[in-house]
């Protein structure tokens, strides 16, 4: 089982139990010790289920941001048979926070668009921790137009705290590109599948989030604003981030209840970071099934359904 370097406070009891098992296993095991290890393993599994089945909203945010959580680059190698990266927005630059390229999955040729957070510190800094600039969204739009031209379905992997807030980002039209990207995706004439794999941060997420099917991993979140941002504005202090996370109803099953997403993909016991391969296998199954469904629909029908899907979202009273 994958043992990351980073341990969240909420995971502490699990790791303690696992350390205990590991200690026991260093010595040759007699009959009795073996039984004890078996028993401890069962307890550990139960503990994981218990902890991860009862995460509070803020803990969910912590899991979604877990440094060891599989990222777009992991899924590119674990889910797809091939990935051919395509760079650049043909206007300003090549934003590493937005990965785009051709890929193959289950005999389908597709285009993958995904936020990239980076793994090493240097990568993380280059990717601004997954916060894309306007050139990232322009790159995504350019490649999506290409996909539409050649009939390639689009798969978007969403994992961003939000679009980058900075001087250059504003100068180069952050608001403009997010708007244009939604506008483009709303009527793009190929199937689009979107999956929030970690953080679904506001407009930066929705900028590649308009699809025929939208799924969210069990411990991912998707929100109108970060809990810290919301707490800062409404509670006047980021210290109330846990209250904001609760109030915003940003977790997978809340999103399903509001009709904003189609599917919650279960994570392995203890979260995606404990078993990236199993997580990738489940994601792959979802993508394969969904692709099969979507490619069988006439494209006009598909685009019409996509319109209706987003058109229905919202809650209001009517006289």
């Amino acid at each position: 089982m994958a043992r990351g370097l980073h341990r969240l406070p909420l995971e502490k009891p699990i790791y303690e139990l696992e350390d205990k098992i590991a200690d026991l296993e260093t010595a040759p095991l007699g009959q009795q010790a073996q039984e004890e290890v078996q028993q401890l393993r069962r307890e550990c599994a139960d503990l994981q289920k218990q902890i991860f089945g009862n995460l509070d909203p803020w803990q969910t945010v912590e899991v979604a941001r877990h440094p060891n959580r599989p990222k777009t680059s992991d899924y590119l190698s674990l889910v797809f048979d091939e990935f051919v990266e395509l760079h650049g927005d043909k206007a300003f630059g090549d934003d590493p926070a937005m990965l785009t390229g051709f890929a193959k999955i289950d005999r389908h040729k597709v285009l993958v668009v995904g936020h990239q957070k980076g793994k090493t510190l240097a990568e993380k800094q280059a990717c601004h921790f997954g916060c894309a600039h306007p050139e990232g969204y322009r790159k995504a739009m350019g490649k999506m137009r290409l996909a539409a031209k050649y009939g390639l379905p689009v798969i978007c992997l969403i994992d961003t705290p939000g679009a980058y807030p900075g001087i250059g980002a504003e100068e180069r039209g952050q608001a403009q590109v997010i708007a244009e990207s939604m506008f483009l995706m709303a009527s793009l004439k190929v199937p689009i599948i979107c999956v929030v794999i970690g953080e679904g941060g506001s407009g930066g997420a929705l900028g590649i989030g308009v699809g025929d099917r939208v799924a969210v991993l069990e411990h991912a979140y998707y929100s109108v604003i970060s809990p810290e941002g919301c707490a800062g504005i409404l509670w006047k202090s980021a210290e109330f981030k846990a209250d904001a996370a609760r109030a915003l109803r940003m977790r997978a099953w809340d999103l399903k209840e509001f009709g904003v997403i189609d599917k919650v993909i279960d994570e392995p016991r203890g979260g995606a970071h404990r078993d990236p391969r199993l997580m990738a296998a489940r994601l792959k199954t979802f993508l394969e099934r969904t692709l099969k469904d979507l490619v069988s629909l006439p494209i006009e029908k598909l685009v019409e359904n996509r319109y209706d899907k987003f058109r229905r979202m919202g809650a209001f009273l009517e006289d």
Partner: protein, 306 residues
């Protein structure tokens, strides 16, 4: 998720002039010039004959300012105008007809910060005389029929929740079927409304999708950006105009200046995120002062085959 309305809220419009003066303390120009010592200075003098300009801080005769459509005669600063005032300024008298006024906000998340959202809605409605942050409808601009939406920054910062999104989506769809030019005037400092969570975010996609269809049908969309137009409103319909106009010196952008400052820890350049800044960087077609807005909209409609 439509529900029947159970309690009719009390709509009591207050005076439409300067009583609901919008808090424009975020505007970059507010950080310049002399500041009064002590507590926050009063914005305008609610009942009096005189007003203090938010732009140059000079004292202005109220009537003169009103005749100038709430533009400072000294420095040309464009003050807040309510959605209703905006409609009065823009449309030929008596021609505006409201659409979808019967849509009313609800509280899908049972959201509560320091104050429950349900209570906030009621108090905002009483204070502003609006049912939510956008008014939509049709009317004549110099004898040209248009579909028009206006957001009002005094109602929860002009933020877009489900009602704003639904009103705009219906407006755009009707403009599509009736082949009407579409004008949306944005005054939204709040972007997507936090209190309705993810549903507010999805309004951005919903309205943008409606605009994509409208555009495919050949419709002309003129987006007018006024102070302030930020966040999820800037990052959706407000930026999608075939023509994008802005009033002078409006605050327009994606991330709020405070968020940017907190992220990059650098002083922001003077004039950052203003209309002039956006014009310089190529994101808006024209800066148009309020007095000329009506005639310039009419002119653009004529050019684009309206």
């Amino acid at each position: 998720m439509k529900q029947k309305q159970s309690t009719q809220t009390d709509h009591k419009p207050e005076s439409e002039s300067f009583r609901n003066q919008h808090d424009s303390s975020q505007h970059p120009s507010m950080t310049e010039g002399p500041r009064m010592p002590g507590p926050r200075p009063k914005r305008g003098v609610p009942e009096g004959l005189w007003l203090k300009c938010n732009g140059c801080r000079s004292t202005i005769y109220r009537k003169e300012a009103e005749e100038m459509l709430n533009v400072c005669p000294q420095c040309g600063f464009h003050w807040y105008v309510s959605a209703k005032q905006r409609i009065e300024q823009l449309f030929d008298p008596g021609t505006f007809e409201e659409w979808d006024g019967g849509l009313l906000p609800t509280d899908p998340l049972t959201f509560s910060d320091k104050k429950p959202y349900a209570k906030r809605i009621v108090s905002e409605q009483k204070r502003t005389g609006l049912s939510d942050a956008a008014l939509t409808g049709t009317g004549m601009i110099r004898a040209r029929r248009v579909a028009c939406g206006v957001t009002d920054s005094s109602f929860i910062m002009g933020s877009m929740g489900s009602v704003v999104g639904e009103r705009l989506a219906r407006l755009i769809e009707r403009a599509t079927t009736e082949s009407l030019p579409l004008i949306i005037i944005s005054a939204s400092g709040g972007g997507a409304r936090m209190h309705e969570g993810i549903l507010s975010l999805m309004q951005m996609a919903k309205v943008s999708a409606a605009l994509a269809r409208y555009s495919e049908s050949g419709g002309l969309f003129i987006s007018v950006l006024t102070n302030p137009t930020m966040g999820g409103v800037a990052a959706s319909f407000a930026s999608l105009g075939d023509l994008v106009f802005a009033e002078p010196r409006a605050l327009i952008g994606f991330a709020g200046p405070r968020t940017i400052k907190a992220t990059i820890r650098v002083e922001l350049p003077a004039g950052f995120q203003t209309s002039e800044f956006l014009l310089e960087h190529g994101f808006i077609d024209r800066i148009i002062s309020r007095q000329n807005l009506k005639s310039e909209i009419a002119r653009a409609i004529d050019y684009c085959g309206g």
